[in-house]
């Protein structure tokens, strides 16, 4: 069972944060492990997931995409249909409820594309908590709609104008806030990154995705899927859909953002090109230069634009259980348009990366084989940005 007692997945994970935060993380871990087994907590969380988030999300057979590609049958796990439009809400509702049980009155979040920020602001609103969201100024510009949404939901949005002005710097600021306010605040990390217990906790809250797929797929076909694909930035939607299948004979593929090219600074393919390192509280793979400074990154998708990755993914790459690949901005954009036209589903640019890799492999597979894509979010937030890209 991973992580181990100290929060490690093999060599990866742990807690690399200032000593000040350790008691808060220990308290959080203890509360989480207790509440995980607590009936009242689970009844409440399941009720929220069902009646507020709208779970279970459908598993949809993408017939036109399948016949267009002429190979494996393609199914979409429709996390885009969740309340707030992505899988992020599974985790934020879980953590917000945890925060409430722990007696915290305020939530702090970092956000890239803004989906996690919106999902945290939403959870705060419905549970009556205060909320501050940190967002890189560059991301706030390219995802303006989500900034408005967060503010409408009552959250304070702090635009971070330091460093690369993206998720990495927003995370730094959120951590700093947490270090000074942990007595009354809970930091809702949006991915399977950060110090222990976050990678475990976020994975557990997101694994509802994989559990549902297992049941739904069996009902539809009577068997297991052959492939499951998900995009990987920090890696929470991927971890959520992979985790319940780790012990099954299902091929798991994580798709990273290959950006413009695999030259330094032009992509976010952390598992392919990163080195072991410490960023935001965990030992994992990190995009860094030869001197150990964290590298700038690029992706057309703000939600994948991050130089780190969850430690459990680093571990699953090392054991070989999950195959990690990457697709370029261009390929992701093509998939974005194709899915929109063929299925009437506008995917988030993040999720479009998983679709893009499917386009590469599905035609080469037999019609008997089945492939599930985690469609982690909807693309409304990206429409303005994509419309502004001339080449498409």
């Amino acid at each position: 069972m991973y992580p181990d007692r100290k929060g490690y997945f093999g060599r990866y994970g742990g807690r690399f944060v200032p000593e000040t935060l350790i008691p808060a993380l220990e308290q959080m871990e203890k509360s989480y492990l207790e509440l995980k087994e607590d009936e009242k907590f689970n009844v409440e969380l399941n009720d929220i997931l069902k009646n507020y988030v709208g779970r279970p999300s459908p598993l949809y057979f993408a017939e036109r995409l399948t016949s267009f590609l002429g190979g494996a049958k393609i199914f979409l796990k429709r996390e885009d249909l969740n309340h707030t439009g992505s899988h992020k809400i599974n985790n934020t509702m879980g953590q917000a409820l945890l925060a409430k049980y722990m007696g915290k009155e305020r939530l702090i979040a970092e956000t890239g594309a803004g989906q996690h920020g919106v999902a945290t602001a939403t959870a705060a609103a419905v549970l009556g908590l205060k909320c501050t969201v940190y967002m890189g100024a560059k991301d706030a510009e390219r995802q303006r709609l989500n900034v408005f949404r967060m503010k409408m939901l009552g959250a304070e949005v702090v635009e971070v104008k330091k460093g690369s002005q993206t998720l990495k710097d927003a995370s730094n600021e959120a951590f700093r806030d947490f270090i000074r306010s942990f007595e009354c605040s809970h930091m809702v990390i949006g991915s399977v990154v950060g110090p222990h217990p976050y990678p475990m906790m976020v994975r557990d809250f997101q694994s509802v995705i994989g559990k549902e797929v297992k049941t739904q797929f069996k009902e539809l076909t009577g068997k297991m899927p052959d492939y499951i694909l998900a995009c990987v930035g920090g890696g929470s939607n991927a971890m959520g859909i992979f985790y319940p299948f780790l012990d099954d004979a299902v091929k798991l593929i994580g798709v990273e953002a290959g950006g413009i090219s695999l030259e330094p600074g032009k992509h976010c393919a952390t598992l392919s090109s990163g080195k072991e390192g410490v960023l935001h509280g965990a030992l994992s793979r990190v995009l860094q230069d030869e001197k150990g400074q964290i590298s700038p990154t690029h992706s057309v998708s703000a939600g994948l634009d991050y130089p780190g990755v969850g430690p459990e993914h680093a571990f699953l790459k090392e054991t070989g259980r999950v195959n990690y690949v990457n697709v370029s901005d261009k390929e992701a954009l093509y998939a974005f348009h194709l899915l929109s036209r063929l299925e009437g589903i506008i995917p988030a640019l993040e999720s479009a990366h998983a679709v893009a890799y499917t386009l590469k492999i599905a035609p080469g597979l037999s019609e008997e084989e089945c492939l599930v894509i985690n469609l982690s979010g909807r693309g409304d937030k990206d429409v303005e940005q994509v419309a502004g890209l001339k080449e498409v």
């Binding site: 100290k6 742990g14 807690r15 690399f16 944060v17 200032p18 000593e19 000040t20 935060l21 350790i22 008691p23 808060a24 330091k162 460093g163 990495k168 730094n172 951590f175 700093r176 270090i179 000074r180 306010s181 942990f182 007595e183 080195k275 072991e276 390192g277 410490v278 960023l279 935001h280 509280g281 030992l283 990190v286 860094q288 030869e290 001197k291 150990g292 400074q293 964290i294």
Partner: protein, 263 residues
């Protein structure tokens, strides 16, 4: 016994409040930085804590973060920082401690870092993003580490820090990052007394120390204060008047030292 331990133990015994100065390598430029360091020594500074640049300095507030970023933008990193430390060592004789985030160290390799540290003559290392559990990554290579303790630390963690037999324990005086407002006086005093009851190591109080008055208040509770953000803001303020900078640094340290003298 190392010069660092000797100095801290001396302070503890005398009841005098020592001054530890944090300076970021290379700023405003290499030459002026060395002059500032000389000025620190002339002002009576007890220990120099030399900062190594990192792109994502989580434990630092705005002032010092800006300094990290300025260095990183110039392409400076741990390797250059350690070469600079070697020059510092040749220039001044006060004990030297290296302050660095963990990733550059991990990237360099811990045995290589240890070698570099020995070469510079620095006697210990402070790594703000390594909590006690992870310090063994350094101590197993024989590195002398300075553990950090916070107002939130329970008694058993103070005892863990004590087990490392450090030259001193760095007691963070805020719930937050460097440069922040310190907690109320009485709260800090209680906290320092609590730390004291679990360890015989000298204690340095840092993060948010900005006036000699604080030295007077906490004398007898801690054995030294660490000044960082204050010096960074002086460096920034006097950048345009570089000829005045060393004098201003020296004057500042002298004021702190005067406030810390035993009666």
């Amino acid at each position: 016994m190392s010069q660092l331990r000797e100095r801290l133990n001396g302070l503890k015994k005398s009841g005098e409040m020592g001054v530890i100065a944090f300076i970021m390598s290379f700023l405003p430029d290499k030459k002026l930085c060395l002059e500032c360091i000389k000025a620190l020594e002339q002002g009576g500074c007890d220990v120099l804590e030399l900062g190594m640049p990192f792109s994502d300095p989580l434990a630092d507030g705005e002032m010092i973060e800006k300094f990290h970023h300025r260095c990183v933008e110039k392409g400076l990193s741990l390797k250059e920082g350690m070469e600079f430390a070697f020059e510092v060592r040749k220039t001044v004789s006060m004990p030297l401690v290296i302050f660095t985030y963990f990733n550059p160290v991990y990237n360099m390799g811990i045995p290589e870092f240890r070698q570099a540290l020995e070469h510079t003559g620095a006697e210990a290392v402070i790594v703000p993003d390594l909590p006690l559990e992870e310090l063994t990554r350094l101590t197993e290579y024989g590195l002398d580490v300075i553990p950090m303790i916070a107002p939130s630390s329970p008694q058993e963690r103070i005892k863990e820090a004590d087990k490392l037999n450090p030259a001193f324990i760095y007691c963070v005086s805020v719930r937050g990052t460097t440069g922040m407002q310190v907690l109320p006086e009485e709260e800090i005093k209680d906290y320092l007394l609590q730390v004291k009851s679990s360890t015989s190591s000298p204690l340095a109080l840092g993060f948010g120390i900005s006036s000699p008055e604080q030295v007077r208040v906490f004398k007898g509770y801690a054995d030294a204060v660490v000044i960082g953000s204050l010096l960074a803001s002086i460096i920034e303020e006097y950048e345009a008047k570089p000829e005045l900078l060393p004098g201003e640094i020296e004057r500042t340290i002298r004021n702190f030292k005067k406030a810390g003298l035993s009666f």
